[in-house]
Symmetry: C3
Subunit: 272 residues, 3 copies
């Protein structure tokens, strides 16, 4: 059985998580990282991102709100992180929404090596070049198999693909895990996906270099189980406003025992 003890490592090691992120979720992502015991820093000036990324335990690049200057900073930071062997996580928010986002993400994937990429089904389908119907930053819907989308992203970019949604799929291209936990209130709060990307980053930061797949698996499982605790605390399905603070409380109090007991996990090899 999986041990799910990385959440304790994050609390012990307080990894420094450098976020280049958007104006929508910056505060909430920082709150979430603090809740799990990580040490968030947001910095996006071209003059400092390389130094910051190299000094951090992980870099998380989120394209939620972009401008040309920020894109330059993302590339500088990503390259500096690669040189310093700081792992880098990509969150391609709404990549299918505009040609600009697709271009920026293509350039980032060309110039920077990402340890993991986390997106919803619609975003990951764009990266895998698989037909899908997205809308704005929402997941949208499509016929393609989510496991196949994750596998394609993992193989194409030699990365850990984390496709999150009603169920989460984590793939390294050879094997995959599917986690079916999670509160239906999660997508009702802004930036729950963005925060999961940052949490994956924190788990990767406290893992050995070759264990990013496991780190993402544990991050997704711990996060989804915490969201269920929060929903149960509320005792109601439609209180998205109250869900946010209670979910942060749950993240601050998660335990490996709870994850071990609750997780609904399927682990398989991808078919040849």
């Amino acid at each position: 059985m999986r041990r799910f003890d990385l959440l304790e490592q994050v609390k012990k090691q307080n990894p420094l998580v450098h976020n280049i992120t958007n104006i929508v979720v910056a505060g909430d992502s920082a709150d979430g990282l603090l809740a799990i015991g990580a040490s968030p820093i947001m910095a996006s000036a071209a003059e400092e991102v390389a130094e910051m990324a190299a000094a951090s335990d992980v870099l998380v690049i989120n394209i939620g709100t972009l401008d040309a200057e920020l894109v330059r900073a993302m590339k500088q930071a990503g390259k500096a992180a690669n040189e310093a062997e700081t792992p880098v996580v990509l969150d391609p928010v709404g990549v299918g929404a505009t040609r600009f986002r697709r271009k920026v993400v293509a350039e980032l994937l060309e110039e920077v090596k990402f340890t993991a990429i986390r997106g919803n089904a619609g975003e990951m389908a764009v990266l895998a070049d698989i037909a899908w119907q997205g809308k704005g930053v929402d997941a949208g819907s499509g016929d393609a198999d989510q496991v196949e989308i994750a596998r394609q992203v993992a193989k194409k970019y030699r990365t850990i693909a984390v496709l999150s949604g009603a169920s989460d799929v984590i793939s390294d291209g050879d094997q995959f895990a599917k986690i079916t936990n999670g509160s239906k209130l999660l997508p009702r709060i802004t930036g729950s996906g963005c925060l999961l990307s940052a949490v994956c980053g924190a788990f990767i930061a406290v893992s050995p270099t070759d264990a990013a797949y496991l780190a993402c698996l544990e991050a997704c499982a711990s996060y989804a189980v915490a969201s269920e605790f929060a929903e149960e605390k509320l005792g109601s399905a439609n209180l998205p406003g109250s869900f946010r603070p209670v979910f942060l409380d749950a993240l601050a109090n998660w335990s490996k025992e709870a994850v071990q007991e609750r997780v609904m996990l399927e682990e398989r090899s991808h078919p040849e």
Copy 2:
């Protein structure tokens, strides 16, 4: 009697609301839009706003925090929305506070056709060129009649004017509605006006082109009634911190029946 059923349309249609907004309220506006069932997207890069605005169901431009680059993006997005017949809402945050804001808003009003403009009394008085004493982004105070201010804005800019405050006035230049609902805690949370602008946008997005007046009326009534439910839930008048999550809960659970029952609405023609 008004039916107040647009709130149900928003839940059914999940309109895509493109916001070009400020760093203060971006997250909270997104949370509020999610709560009512709309689909928020924030994008402000000059490279993508035109495409995004044209593909969205409504564009909401908020000048809360500006820079020259963002102003360029606002103009591009507004023009693209006009061409695509995407309705556009303006929130002229603190327009009276600096010459720069007055200049930017004048240019936006010159170059972009707005379906609706929502501001507090001080902001709308500046647009109507009526004397008023504002301070920063607050409404301030003055002797002018708020109905007259709204009428002037509506006529001058051929738009729906939404003047919100202790009471809300909605005018299309010929007729007006006055709504006297609303919690006194609303102005105690940052961005409650900004969110109302976005909610007006969501209601306009699910309405026929010629029904923006009614959409704004219903948006203001539904929003104000929801704030009263939230205040009653708290059972106390001075808990602004707890008010935010509870208000989001109320927005997620509003019903046309509650609005029909609670609304205090006066509808009249403007005197000649």
Copy 3:
């Protein structure tokens, strides 16, 4: 005994607090300022900051997320505030984290006269040029005496130094105060230090020019006592998500009587 009545002055006078701040805490700082009865405005366009700063009751400059354009705006605003005799507060967020931040802060300190500077031990040690081990935006740890760090900052920059943490030290270079109140949940929410800087600004804004030391002392004491009330309301030590709204409630309901009764304050002259 200290009277601690400035919190009432803030409620009466609603000082206009101009913040040039970062994307992480902008919303939360505005909420906190609203809670205490101040009137926040965020503006950072080079085209307007000078006018805004001169018209405000205090300017608070926070370097949490920077870019070159924002740095120019900070300098313009700071100089305009100095000319207009608007007090200016500096929050040197993460100043030790990168060379760029150190350079920006050095330039700001060269070009702008600050009434007060608030930072954690690590940030203030960088300003005082005293050895300290920081990490990202966290306080870090070191052997140096915090009172000595505060004294050095106060003397070197002829300012009121506010070093906040598990205990707060306020120094004017000659005398200092040490406050040992405060909830351990405060550092668990993003931007609690940034908000304290803004609160110091609001207290300075309603004080005589020569009373900034007392204003900062009262701000720190009131803030720390409010955080204790919030923690007691929760009845638990590890609910950072629920702490934020409850702390805002406590800020909205603080009283001089509570501060007088609760404050643990040591006031002394610095040794020669």
